[in-house]
């Protein structure tokens, strides 16, 4: 079967909305409820955070959501348990995002096999070095048709972006500015970087993340890329919610 991320981009090239949420947050069993609501409200892609105790690339909002999720009892085992059978209801592509240590601890091959078994399409592991992936893990990911999505930043040089493009599958995650997630940086200053990325004519689609939080920033991002990823703003929108489905609907309505 074709990977669902590839299917998505084969059908739709522009204005892709990818929403990030932390698995097991705000309540342990909210994961599927949130995913269902995201799909119902037309979100194209779902990025599900695997909570980690020490998330280096995340800002305080996402870190707090991870801490809360861990306190709720979330773990990789628990997450795979929650995801078992989810493809009966949810057809949008799903990506898991998390740090390398818990994945290594689970076992790379076991992790990939489990992702394939439950129906996960791709993963983002920001601290997995490209060289290590290429030398050790690439065949494992390919065996399970699991796309590994790499990040690029304004500081990533062209040769490295080309290399990342050759190793990435699904799409490339363009971090809008050099920052941790949720940092208030003005995206208008990133015009040159976005244009530089466009000119490179990469083989993979590009989604812009970090700093995308509302309609205006979503439109800025989608003017230069295939779509955008929203995390922190979404976490804030649901963190104290008593009506998850309603909150998801209201949030997505503010974006498009």
């Amino acid at each position: 079967m074709q990977n669902r991320i590839d299917q998505l981009f084969a059908q739709k090239q522009h204005g892709i909305l990818n929403i990030y949420c932390t698995a097991g947050f705000p309540q342990l069993n909210d994961t599927l409820r949130i995913m269902t609501a995201l799909q119902e409200n037309g979100v194209d892609l779902i990025e599900l955070g695997m909570p980690f105790s020490d998330p280096l690339a995340d800002g305080p909002v996402i870190q707090d959501s991870s801490t809360k999720a861990l306190q709720n009892g979330m773990s990789l085992n628990k997450l795979f348990e929650q995801l078992t059978g989810f493809r009966e209801r949810i057809h949008v592509p799903v990506i898991l995002m998390g740090y390398l240590n818990p994945v290594l601890c689970y076992g790379i091959e076991a992790f990939c096999a489990k992702c394939a078994e439950v129906g996960v399409d791709g993963i983002i592991v920001p601290d997995l070095p490209m060289a290590e992936f290429e030398e050790e893990y690439k065949p494992v990911f390919e065996k399970y048709n699991l796309h590994l999505i790499f990040l690029v930043t304004p500081e990533t040089g062209e040769a490295r972006i080309r290399k990342i493009d050759s190793l990435s599958k699904g799409f490339i995650y363009a971090v809008s500015s050099s920052s941790t997630t949720g940092k208030e940086k003005d995206m208008s200053g990133q015009q040159a970087y976005f244009e530089r990325l466009e000119k490179l004519q990469l083989k993979n689609p590009v989604l812009i993340g970090f700093g995308v939080k509302d309609k205006a920033t979503f439109e800025t991002a989608t003017a230069h890329a295939n779509g955008a990823i929203i995390g922190t703003a979404f976490i804030k929108a649901i963190e104290h919610s008593t009506d998850i489905s309603g909150s998801v609907k209201a949030f997505v309505a503010t974006i498009r």
């Binding site: 980690f52 105790s53 020490d54 280096l56 690339a57 800002g59 305080p60 870190q63 801490t67 861990l70 773990s75 990789l76 085992n77 740090y99 390398l100 240590n101 818990p102 994945v103 290594l104 601890c105 689970y106 920001p126 601290d127 997995l128 070095p129 290590e132 790499f150 990040l151 690029v152 930043t153 500081e155 990533t156 040089g157 490295r160 971090v175 050099s178 920052s179 941790t180 940092k183």
Partner: protein, 402 residues
């Protein structure tokens, strides 16, 4: 003094990919890749530049006060029935070995054209050493410190502020060294162009473990010379050092790594007991994992979440050890022991009364294991006295009352 540039084909030194055996590497998010890659590419070239070596040597001599003495501790020797020497890193300017590394790194940062310095600190010794070199060079300095450590190491916080540094409390996780390091790395991610991160221990992504070990290797280089002068032999039977991340141990062991007759002893913080749930004894409690962008031994749950460690000493309160040490443990080149909080306290009182030296709580862990070693009267033992105990007076006073 020379910075150890040529380390030959030692199996205990870092390889060209940044690994010690299966430990090490650089597991950084892409946001940090350019900074770390720049360091990897340039650090050896900068360190081997004669003008760098000259500046480093002059500052160590005239500003830090090196060489630090190698002191024959007569009464301690009588007590443990061996020839015990203390490498007096406590006599360095700022009161600990940490300054050897910060002098090296500030000179490196200047040559990289950086304007702003960030650092993490546990006990505050590395924070003070960083604030000191920033004042010396007129650079902006921001130090991250766990909010718990800010409380228990108040004199060092005051010193950093007086030296012009901004101290920012890390309030996530265990609110100690691990979290201060996370916050410093986050700052670096947010300020990738003008900022250099002066990491204080032999941990973190390659090339930090190697770079810090080379700057600290002045310790073992001096021990060799001084011991030769004092005893006619450059090699002792034992070198003993405490280990959190492992910078003083890396420095004390460095020139002895390939001298198999020298037994290397690393002492971890046992906390309230290795199996009490309040410990930082990584080699006993940890397994391979990734912390602060390095693959090493790490205390973690079954699910790979990092476990919050405990030690009475803020400087050893760390859930991992540097990758070089993980390799020394795995190959058996160094022996790893652990000292509990109580054993370290007792050793601190003992050194104070026997030798008139109040050691840092961290160094006291190394001293605490003399009683567990099978020593002979002719054995020469060098203990790295990594720092002085002024900063720990509150802790010492509190326990004296008990």
């Amino acid at each position: 003094m020379d910075i150890a540039i040529n380390t030959g084909n030692s199996r205990y030194q870092v390889d060209k990919n940044g690994y010690y055996g299966r430990f090490g590497g650089a597991y950084t998010p892409e946001m940090l890749y350019p900074n770390v890659e720049e360091l990897q590419r340039r650090y050896l070239e900068i360190l081997s530049d004669p003008s760098f070596q000259q500046d480093f040597e002059a500052l160590l001599r005239d500003y830090v006060g090196r060489p630090s003495p190698l002191y024959f501790a007569k009464r301690l020797s009588e007590k443990y029935n061996a020839k015990i020497y203390l490498k007096r890193e406590d006599l360095n300017h700022t009161g600990a070995h940490k300054v050897n590394n910060t002098i090296g790194q500030i000179l490196l940062a200047q040559r990289l054209g950086k304007k702003r310095i960030i650092a993490e600190t546990g006990a505050g010794q590395h924070g003070v050493a960083t604030a000191t070199v920033c004042a010396l060079m007129g650079m902006e300095c921001v130090v991250y410190m766990g909010s718990i450590d800010i409380e228990r190491q108040a004199p060092n916080v005051a010193r950093m502020k007086m030296l012009g540094a901004t101290v920012i409390a890390a309030t996530s996780g265990s609110k100690t060294l691990k979290d201060a390091t996370n916050e410093a790395i986050r700052d670096w991610i947010n300020n990738p162009v003008d900022t250099h991160y002066i990491l204080g221990t032999a941990a973190g992504p390659h090339p930090y473990p190697d770079m810090v070990a080379r700057f600290q290797s002045v310790i073992s280089e001096e021990i060799k010379k001084q011991l030769l002068e004092k005893t006619g032999k450059a090699n002792p039977d034992y070198v003993v050092a405490c280990i959190g991340g492992g910078s003083n141990a890396a420095g004390a062991f460095f020139h002895y790594l390939d001298e198999p007759e020298v037994k290397l002893v690393a002492v971890e913080a046992g906390g309230k007991g290795v199996h009490s749930g309040f410990s930082a004894a990584t080699t006993q409690l940890g397994k391979i994992g990734i912390i602060h962008a390095s693959k090493t031994l790490l205390m973690q749950t079954e699910d790979g979440q990092i476990v919050e460690p405990h030690s009475i000493s803020a400087g050893l309160d760390y859930p991992g050890i540097g990758p070089m040490h993980a390799h020394l443990y795995e190959t058996g080149r160094a022996q790893f022991l652990d000292a509990t909080d109580d054993e370290a306290l007792a050793a601190a009182y003992e050194l104070s009364l026997l030798e008139g030296i109040i050691p840092a709580m961290e160094s006291a862990h190394a001293l605490a294991k003399l009683k567990n070693m099978t020593l002979h009267p002719e054995d020469v033992v060098v203990v790295c006295l990594s720092g002085r105990g002024d900063k720990d007076l509150d802790t010492y006073i509190r326990h004296m009352k008990k």
